[in-house]
């Protein structure tokens, strides 16, 4: 009996310590309500399957905030500093919703950004709308995010109908430039919100463009073996393969395609997993000649871009990606709006965001000319670039090839893919 009791007290002791820890944190965190700060809530996936993307977005935001604060913060607010609050969504919609509630009510954030996963952004923006807190979406591609009639939602990145439109425009241009005939297309995509969204648009565009779809294959992104899918691609004999993949499956798919020596004229990917910093390292030579559509590339011809990337790489060990640039520019767009609003009133910030016309500044490292939102909150100017993964003497890198105006000087894309 005595033993039972000591066990019991030992256990209760541990429990009390744990609970008091959480309580201490809980009180200490709400106490430090600084006066002259702008509070920005960020809901991104920091653990779970999309943790890699979340980490990149967080780093990009941190870099932008450091720069803005070092330059004196928001001047119209008396030099107010930006204070970031990060919340982990674990890629789960219900966690995103709960965190939005918390950030708005407890941390009293003035503005929200996030959430990368469209499935999280979608319901989370509804929370912000209810409270009238402006929600700036750096990147979440689902069309419907800005089509819910919400007044407080603004998106920097292009939406999925633009991504797919540009992929087909690129394909047409390649056919002309390299005089190749593309007839048969294969669509292979992760079976999620994102993949399904793209595939739906592809099918329509293929119909309009007179292409024949020889394979339309969703696959679970938790697949442990993609060789059956690769066999299907090989047997369908498409000219061009179009992909939507997360990181783990992008690597697996690329390696398996090379193993089975699948012959294709071109592979066109859709960012995401193919743009992940680990992708090039892990897929290596097998990734050569893949075309990948992204928002931004390190070789973009814009003053400041090279420096920003060099700084980021020195800090975190990998290049900026399109998605992290969206996060980076989002912080600058916010700072710009705050400067013009001169107030922390959410309605005023919203007005200022709606009137955004951000054309130059440290954050403006994207290829397009400005950030300007249309009535639905979508950035009108958002555009995409097609890159090709190739080795031109400095190891594998991503080289911008399309639109032609943005093509890296002196580079000719390799199309169709040479036989290895």
């Amino acid at each position: 009996m005595k033993k039972v009791i000591t066990r019991h007290w030992k256990f209760m002791g541990i429990l009390t310590v744990l609970l008091s820890f959480t309580m201490v944190f809980f009180t200490s965190n709400t106490a430090n309500a600084g006066s002259n700060v702008v509070r920005i809530g960020n809901i991104i996936p920091l653990s779970g399957p999309s943790a890699s993307v979340g980490e990149q977005g967080k780093n990009a935001r941190e870099m932008a905030v450091e720069e803005i604060n070092a330059a004196g913060g928001i001047k119209s607010l008396g030099g107010a500093k930006l204070e970031m609050f990060y919340a982990d969504s674990e890629s789960k919609p219900e966690k995103g919703v709960a965190e939005a509630e918390r950030l708005i009510n407890t941390n009293k954030v003035n503005v929200l950004t996030g959430c990368w996963n469209s499935a999280v952004t979608y319901p989370t923006t509804a929370v912000a709308e209810r409270y009238g807190i402006p929600f700036l979406v750096p990147v979440s591609v689902r069309d419907t995010i800005t089509e819910q009639g919400f007044k407080t939602v603004f998106r920097i990145a292009a939406k999925d109908s633009w991504w797919t439109r540009d992929q087909f425009a690129f394909l047409k241009d390649m056919e002309k430039e390299f005089k190749i005939k593309v007839k048969k297309l294969a669509f292979v995509y992760e079976n999620g919100d994102w993949g399904k969204g793209f595939a739906g648009q592809w099918k329509e565009l293929a119909n309009k463009g007179g292409y024949k779809v020889v394979l339309d294959e969703p696959y679970p992104s938790t697949s442990t073996d993609l060789s059956p899918v690769v066999q299907k691609i090989k047997r369908a004999k498409p000219d061009v393969l179009m992909l939507v993949s997360n990181a783990a499956d992008a690597i697996l798919l690329t390696n398996t395609l090379a193993e089975y020596k699948v012959k294709l004229k071109a592979i066109i990917a859709s960012g995401g997993g193919h743009a992940d910093p680990s992708f090039l390292k892990a897929a290596g030579k097998n990734a050569q000649y893949i075309f990948d559509i992204v928002e931004w590339e390190t070789d973009v011809n814009k003053p400041g871009a090279k420096e920003a990337n060099a700084k980021y790489k020195a800090k975190y060990g990998y290049n900026l990606t399109g998605e992290s640039v969206d996060a980076y520019i989002a912080v600058y767009v916010l700072a710009d709006a705050l400067e013009r609003a001169g107030s922390l009133d959410p309605a005023k910030i919203r007005e200022a965001l709606a009137a955004t016309n951000y054309r130059s500044g440290t954050g403006m490292i994207v290829g397009y000319e400005a950030v300007e939102f249309d009535a639905s909150g979508q950035n009108k100017h958002a555009s995409l670039v097609m890159t090709q993964i190739n080795d031109i003497g400095n190891g594998l890198e991503r080289i911008t090839v399309w639109p032609k105006a943005a093509r890296r000087a002196g580079y000719t894309p390799v199309c169709p893919m040479p036989k290895k």
């Binding site: 429990l15 959480t22 965190n29 407890t106 509804a126």
Partner: protein, 337 residues
């Protein structure tokens, strides 16, 4: 005062505190956390009917949450039927599915039953992810269904503030607790208890263990699916990967085991410990040290199981009774019974 009276009194006190809490606690954040806490306590109470009393370990209850949520949401979005009605329809559907699954699986022993329920719920998730349209019903595959937050009001089960949700789930929880209390005192409860501990002996005594388990399963599925509708109306978005997830199924089972499986207070105690641990550790470490909150969650699970393998309910009841002994002087022999 006697023991019985003090117990009744403290129970009433807890009830009153729960009801007036929203008047004191104005922060929607904490109300949100509390709503989810009650939601999990409710789910675990429903789970407990089959997982606790019937002595098997179902690890796929998220499927029934999903069935409830999808049914009421589809009826609401496509046909304008009030979620209150959809809630009942979904629950009936879930009960039918639960019985169909329970018929063959409830005969299985421990691990097999647990794995069968996992496979079943994963199967349901895969089906929903692969189906955009099921006949006239739009499931929308992996993209999920969004409930637009318009036309709020009681009839539509949509509210602007958190308080209505708080009271709805609180009343649901109290009703579920009362229901389990009633069941545990009924003949069915005794049959289940006997069947869970010594199935052979119970069968020898003429108890139809299989039937009792099946009834428990049916009731459990019915109650679980009701919570599915609540979840859909509360988060306003359902998505197969998050609602029919193993994480949810597992968390329900954990709360029950941590709290004390098969006891009435267990699910509430378990939720009171695990939910704050999971919420607050995510809030404070989620951003700076990604993943740490799940490490803490795991550590708490392991520690409780090592030190209190029967759950928290036993030691807490002991501690409570000890307190009573100290304060209630006029204890008579009768009360001790």
């Amino acid at each position: 005062m006697t023991h019985q009276n003090i117990k009744k009194f403290s129970l009433a006190l807890v009830g009153i505190i729960a009801f007036v809490l929203p008047l004191v606690l104005r922060s929607p954040t904490y109300l949100h956390i509390l709503v989810l806490l009650y939601f999990y306590a409710y789910l675990t109470t429903s789970w407990n009917l089959v997982g606790g009393f019937a002595g098997v370990l179902p690890l796929g209850h998220a499927a029934f949450v999903g069935i409830g949520a999808y049914t009421s949401t589809i009826l609401f979005l496509q046909y304008g039927i009030s979620p209150w009605i959809g809630m009942i329809v979904g629950s009936i559907l879930a009960t039918i599915v639960g019985v169909l699954i329970g018929l063959p699986t409830l005969k299985m022993r421990g691990a097999y039953f647990a794995l069968a329920t996992i496979a079943f719920s994963e199967g349901v998730r895969v089906m929903i992810e692969n189906i955009d349209f099921l006949g006239p019903f739009k499931l929308n595959g992996p993209r999920g269904l969004l409930i637009p937050p318009l036309n709020t009001g009681l009839a539509n089960f949509l509210f602007v503030g958190k308080e209505p949700y708080y009271y709805i789930i609180l009343i649901m929880l109290i009703m579920a607790l009362a229901f389990t209390y009633f069941i545990s005192r009924s003949k069915l409860g005794y049959y289940l208890n006997a069947g869970g501990e010594e199935p052979e002996a119970a069968m020898a005594l003429g108890v139809n263990v299989a039937r009792a388990k099946l009834i428990a399963m049916a009731m459990s599925c019915f109650l679980t699916a009701l919570a599915g509708t609540f979840y859909a109306q509360f988060t306003l978005y359902i998505h197969p990967r998050s609602i029919i997830s193993l994480d949810l199924s597992f968390e329900i089972a954990f709360i029950a085991l941590i709290g004390g499986r098969g006891s009435i207070a267990g699910p509430v105690l378990g939720a009171l410990l695990l939910r704050p641990v999971s919420d607050f550790s995510r809030i404070y470490f989620g951003a700076t040290l990604p993943g740490l909150h799940l490490v803490i969650f795991g550590v708490v699970l392991v520690l409780v199981m090592i030190y209190q393998p029967r759950g928290l309910q036993e030691p807490l009841t002991r501690a409570f009774n000890k307190l009573l002994d100290r304060f209630a002087v006029k204890t008579t022999m009768e009360d001790k019974k």
